[in-house]
Symmetry: C2
Subunit: 80 residues, 2 copies
Amino acid sequence: MLKARVKVTLKKSILDPQGSAAEKALKSMQYPVESVRIGKFMEVVLNEDDKDKAEKIMHEICQKLLSNPVIEDYSFELEG
Amino acid sequence: MLKARVKVTLKKSILDPQGSAAEKALKSMQYPVESVRIGKFMEVVLNEDDKDKAEKIMHEICQKLLSNPVIEDYSFELEG
């Protein structure tokens, strides 16, 4: 079994209203915050021991279900 | 300026319906998935160059605004 830690973030050109709201709230609380961007973090446990196969599967899963390639980027790390 | 990459995950004992839905969908697509947990990923840029101060600020921000300590855990990495 391998565990994949996936980060899905909005592309830079896409507005992030959730992040802007957090940024404004933190600024109003006097924190020295420059910007906040909010994305998703997922942990996927795979029934697969071969790292190469797992990587291929994760790319498919990320593209098909875990991210929206039109507006989001993804990256992941596999750990055994 | 320092950038913090924050991961917020549901505590293990807390049900994750969003993750369960993704897990079921992936299983129905015949992917060898054991489990999926979904959390949040945030990038916070701080107007602060001192790593110790930035760490203290990030702990405060995470506890007060970015996570719900009752049901979520957080972790972050700072990079310069």
